[in-house]
Amino acid sequence: SAVISQKPSRDICQRGTSLTIQCQVDSQVTMMFWYRQQPGQSLTLIATANQGSEATYESGFVIDKFPISRPNLTFSTLTVSNMSPEDSSIYLCSVERGQGASEQFFGPGTRLTVL
């Protein structure tokens, strides 16, 4: 398994501001992902965080809104930019140890409320 921590665990932000969420893993992993879980909804993949290159975004998500960094194999950040109330969600980091054919391990999530 993998132990994943996220900071902050929750935050309340004003519209128009930005928040950076950190994800730290206790060991090196191949793949890291960022998900959004809107209230009462399932998980939606935002992007795959690639080490040493630009993240791969899913349809409907763009780098300007959700810039992602992954400076090494144990750490990644997701920024939610120019926030609006519609961005209020839980943001989850997950990792996969293998080469893309195994289960994912999830962080505890960051609960974001935008006023």
């Binding site: 994943i4 399932s42 993949l45 080469q99 054919a101 391990f105 999830f106």
Partner: protein, 112 residues
């Protein structure tokens, strides 16, 4: 297109009763299937997975799931539910590009 359907938005069972949560998938090849549980305010925890072999898989916390290719199903079961099992349960399939596709989730309520 690859997809996962969980027909039940929520289910209520009595403590000690048996449980079955339904999951149907749509995937062209042999699927890799998962069940995750999310307790309130928590991240997701893997309950069990199916990659190949025995179609009845055992997981943690007394859960099991059965893969039925003919029905494109991967239902989760537990013979006796405990109050601590109240949570949201997500079925998922590993799709193309190694991306995990999640179902909408089933919220389980347990009554005393």
């Amino acid at each position: 297109a690859q997809s996962v359907t969980q027909p039940d938005i929520h289910i209520t069972v009595s403590e000690g009763a048996s449980l079955e949560l339904r999951c149907n998938y749509s995937y062209g090849a042999t699927p890799y299937l998962f069940w995750y549980v999310q307790s309130p305010g928590q991240g997701l925890q893997l309950l069990l997975k199916y990659f190949s072999g025995d179609t009845l898989v055992q997981g943690i916390k007394g859960f099991e799931a059965e893969f039925k290719r003919s029905q494109s199903s991967f239902n989760l079961r537990k013979p006796s539910v405990h109050w601590s099992d109240a949570a949201e349960y997500f079925c998922a399939v590993l799709g193309g590009g190694f991306k995990t596709i999640f179902g909408a989730g089933t919220r389980l309520f347990v009554k005393a």
